[in-house]
């Protein structure tokens, strides 16, 4: 029953998210708005119920299962991937490396800036 309670809460927030996105014409996917709303609810409530924690842990620990039907969808794009495999692979490789290095350096710079300020303040 606990799992059903938790899943119901998740689906309820997804539903509210989907409705709000359509109603307000927001450029965000419904489940993302649902996630933000749930996060805000948790901030206000100050705790997570056992059933909600259980259901989300179960879902998130099998996250890779949920990607599989979409991954199989690759067979629909065989032709596109065959035609553009070189540009796709280079874009993926370079962009992944650039993003990784860039974010790490920004984090390093910003943390140094913050600790530097703290030190000069006393």
């Amino acid at each position: 029953m606990q799992f059903v309670n938790g899943l119901t809460i998740l689906l309820f927030y997804q539903l509210i998210g989907e409705i709000s996105v359509r109603w307000l014409g927001l450029p965000v996917p419904g489940p993302v708005l649902g996630m933000i709303m749930l996060f805000i609810t948790l901030l206000i409530k100050g705790s997570i119920s056992k059933s909600l924690e259980g259901a989300s842990t179960t879902l998130l620990s099998h996250l890779s299962l949920l990607f599989i039907p979409a991954g199989v969808g690759m067979m629909v794009h065989v032709e596109r991937i065959a035609n553009e495999w070189l540009s796709i692979s280079i874009a993926l490789l370079l962009s992944t490396a650039i993003t990784l290095i860039f974010s790490a350096l920004v984090m390093l710079f910003m943390s140094k800036l913050m600790t530097g300020k703290e030190n000069s303040n006393g």
Partner: protein, 241 residues
């Protein structure tokens, strides 16, 4: 006679979601076992292995993707509640977010933009089609959200799902090496960079390095999810696509 029986069974199976759903779960269980046997080697990521097996099977049996998806959609549907569920690990990291919110926010917003702009411009430069460029743009966020964003900006959600998984695997294989090459020693910084770049697959890798790197990677992944969802539609418009 035998052939007729087989035909009747086949007609039943292709009209019902049962077969598609069952083979999805079977492929997942088999891929998961293989993955565990080889110590979570990122090259054997369960999504790649399971999807590969299923594609092979569907090809052999001449089954179109639409027939398979009649069953697959029940698994696919759970991506929605799973996205909502990301609020929970984020809430659990609240004290860390409060302490480092400024560096994390700056790295997140700029990192998310760099991920999208670099993939779009590199693909564009190399002559990829517009749909492919748009499908590449959300490749650094977790698949359910990336697919929703892709659909919204005019990409192909199922192609995006594949690109997301490949990005995660690239991050998991090369991520820690690249970060030590540029001399990053702090596990919290490594974790943030990994989570922004390589979502859940990178986070799983980060947890193997240290629990601190894993926690920060999970945090960055969850926050990059909605940062990207908010920024990307505007960014794409700004790039004139």
């Amino acid at each position: 006679m035998g052939n007729n029986d087989l035909n009747a069974i086949w007609i039943y199976l292709s009209a019902s979601p049962l077969a598609g759903l069952t083979i999805t779960l079977m492929a997942y269980v088999a891929a998961q076992n293989l993955y565990q046997k080889f110590n979570h080697n990122p090259l054997l990521h369960p999504v790649v292995i399971a999807a590969g097996m299923l594609i092979g099977f569907l090809h052999l049996t001449n089954t179109p993707y639409a027939d398979y998806f009649k069953g697959g959609q029940y698994v696919h549907f759970l991506l929605g509640p799973a996205t909502v569920a990301l609020a929970i690990p984020m809430y659990q990291q609240l004290s860390k977010i409060k302490k480092m919110w400024l560096p994390i926010s700056v790295a997140l917003i700029s990192g998310v933009c760099v991920a999208a702009i670099s993939s779009i411009t590199i693909a564009q430069f190399l002559g990829a089609t517009v749909e492919t460029q748009l499908s590449l743009a959300p490749k650094s966020v977790t698949a359910p959200v990336a697919m929703a964003i892709s659909e919204q900006i005019g990409g192909l959600p199922s192609l995006t799902a594949v690109l997301v998984v490949v990005t995660g695997i690239l991050g998991a294989i090369f991520g820690t090496k690249i970060l030590s090459l540029i001399n990053i020693k702090d596990d919290s910084i490594k974790g943030i960079a990994m989570g922004i770049t390589a979502h859940g697959i990178g986070t799983a890798r980060a947890f193997q390095v240290s629990s601190e790197m894993g926690a920060f990677s999970g945090l960055a992944m969850a926050m990059a999810t909605f940062t990207t969802a908010f920024i990307l539609p505007y960014l794409v418009r700004w790039l004139g696509m």
